[in-house]
């Protein structure tokens, strides 16, 4: 149930997909590399280095602005946000303050009753990421930090919403949709570690606002918000005051804790970055061509492929899944929708595989086998599982084709005569069930059919089998 008294606003930091960092030419592709190997005087904050803005990051931000219907002001500027922290090499973060690259947009999400609802986007701005800190304890139990500056200066956009969200679930749906939109725009890679971080502002109507910082997963956002709502409600019920504060979310424990540090009172002394000329890019917006976005693609899937809204929604939620579906839908879009949305996604999730790990050719082949009735659905699942198990960590070419698996495992659908013998055996072996059937207990048929299925290892089509069993039982009656 949507609760009108819960007020939530989000600040979402997303890592932009660029080859180089925001203000220097260091490669952003450092995930598998040693610490401090993707650094230069600029992102290390060495004295004398100057920032130079990456055009691609600006273009990505504009793309997002256009997709979320934001306005791009005539002039936008960078500022320094001053604070000391060991992972911040220059002692300030270059970000945008009062002149962000884009302002005032809208994204629509469904509320908890399934009605579409407009969420206002306050602003989008560009900023650099700090380095990465590791906390260590030495043998004498004194703590210290280790810094890796590979992440320093990675381009981020921060997307800020108005306090328009009304439930943790709604917030999660908003984030999911935002993520898929960003992926469709090809500005964001959600699979990259730490690619999204959220600060959530939450309050109960009439009470102070609390900011939960550093939530690094979609699930975490819902958890943190649920925890906070309960905590704040309990305080209100006890007649206690809700302090306006910053709290940290502890992902592992699912709770938020107060961070009553000096940080709360920090004055960031925002200051126009003197090394970076202003941007005047509002005119560039009209030249940006947006790709088909999730909502449009969902509509198209429903009309073009004639699939259900639910299927279309599941299939278009993730760009890669949507592309995957379209490349296997050819033989039979309806069967393909069922097999991708209802079966394949669950199977890969169970195996912690990604959709990229699955060869489209093999799935297309499987869909043809199902469509042609060459194997039963049950066998199809067995073929799929066999294939995925063998596929994990393999090249796509090395994956066994479903048709070969069918032959190897003898899963070709049992036709007419193949199972009439089995039916006869089962009827002969289960006189009690046959007697029950005669006594009018319809459930007995299901038991007998189940026995046949077991013996044929699912190769028989259940519908055909039911008809044949009925006929066989009638025959023995005579």
């Amino acid at each position: 149930m949507t609760d009108k008294t819960v007020i939530i606003g989000l600040e979402i930091h997303c890592q932009l997909n660029t080859k180089t960092k925001l203000f220097c030419g260091c490669s952003t592709d450092f995930q598998r590399d040693e610490p401090n190997t993707h650094v230069c005087p600029i992102c290390l904050g060495l004295p004398g280095a100057l920032p130079c803005l990456n055009k691609q990051a600006v273009m990505h931000a504009l793309k997002v602005a256009k997709a979320l219907n934001l306005t791009v002001p005539e002039v936008s500027e960078f500022s320094r946000k001053n604070y000391f922290y060991p992972d911040l090499p220059a002692g300030y973060q270059i970000t945008q303050d009062d002149k962000p690259i884009a302002e005032k947009g809208i994204m629509e999400v469904d509320d908890d009753e399934g009605h579409p609802k407009k969420i206002r986007i306050t602003r989008i701005h560009l900023e650099e990421d700090p380095g990465r800190l590791i906390h260590k304890t030495s043998r004498d139990r004194a703590g210290y930090s280790l810094v890796d500056y590979n992440r320093s200066c990675i381009p981020l956009i921060e997307i800020v919403t108005e306090p328009d969200l009304r439930s943790p679930k709604e917030a999660r749906r908003f984030l999911n949709k935002l993520r898929s939109t960003l992926e469709y725009l090809e500005v964001f890679d959600g699979e990259r570690e730490g690619s999204i971080r959220v600060d959530a502002n939450i309050s109960i109507k009439g009470h102070n606002r609390v900011e939960c910082k550093n939530i690094s997963s979609y699930k975490g956002v819902e958890k943190a918000l649920n925890f906070e709502i309960t905590r704040q409600r309990n305080l209100i019920r006890k007649g206690q005051f809700i302090e306006q504060e910053t709290r940290h979310f502890l992902e592992g424990r699912g709770i938020t804790t107060s961070s009553r540090s000096k940080e709360n009172k920090n004055d960031y002394r925002y200051f126009p970055a003197p090394d970076l000329p202003a941007l005047r890019v509002s005119e560039w917006l009209k030249d940006i061509v947006l790709p088909e976005l999730p909502d449009a693609r969902r509509e198209r899937f429903m009309t073009q492929y004639g699939i259900s809204e639910n299927h279309a929604r599941t299939l278009t939620g993730d760009l890669k899944v949507a592309n995957f579906y379209e490349s296997v839908a050819g033989a039979d879009p309806a069967i393909a929708a069922i097999w991708v949305a209802d079966i394949l996604l669950g199977e890969i999730n169970y195996r912690s595989m990604r959709i990229d790990d699955v060869p489209t050719m093999n799935i297309a082949d499987l869909i043809v086998l199902i469509r042609d009735g060459a194997i039963t659905d049950k066998s199809g699942v067995e073929v799929l599982r066999t294939m995925l198990d063998a596929c994990m960590g393999q090249d796509h070419e090395a994956c066994e084709m479903p048709a070969d698996i069918v032959t190897r495992l003898g899963l070709t659908k049992a036709e007419g005569d193949d199972f009439t013998d089995v039916i006869r055996e089962i009827i002969a072996a289960n006189p009690n069930a046959v007697a029950d059937y005669r006594a009018g207990k319809k459930g007995a048929v299901n038991f007998l059919v189940g026995q046949v299925m077991k013996t044929t290892r699912g190769r028989a089509d259940p519908k055909e089998l039911n008809i044949a069993m009925d006929a066989a039982l009638k025959e023995t009656e005579d």
């Binding site: 210290y144 500056y149 005047r280």
Partner: protein, 89 residues
């Protein structure tokens, strides 16, 4: 007019430890300087023209980075390619 504890607060924000015995002198100098620069109060509001330089952008092309050795060469303590820093917890 700033008081000694205002100056202490500023020093805290600037992350500069000033010695107690210097505080009085610094506060006096601070106030002298502020008194001088308060002449800016007589500047009437006005627009500041924008620089002619706009949209100075770099193409998204990778430039070789420093080696880990070069990056850490001026650091005092390193550990497994990381640079050591004071603790934050």
């Amino acid at each position: 007019m700033l008081l000694e504890n205002d100056v202490e607060g500023i020093a805290k924000l600037a992350d500069i430890q000033i010695q107690k015995e210097e505080l009085t002198e610094i506060t006096v100098q601070f106030n002298q300087i502020l008194e001088y620069i308060d002449i800016l109060d007589s500047v009437s509001e006005g627009e500041v023209s924008n620089s002619e330089l706009i949209n100075v952008l770099r193409e998204d092309v990778v430039i070789p980075s420093l080696t880990q050795e070069e990056a850490c060469a001026n650091a005092n303590e390193t550990e497994d390619g990381h640079i050591r820093a004071p603790r934050v917890m």
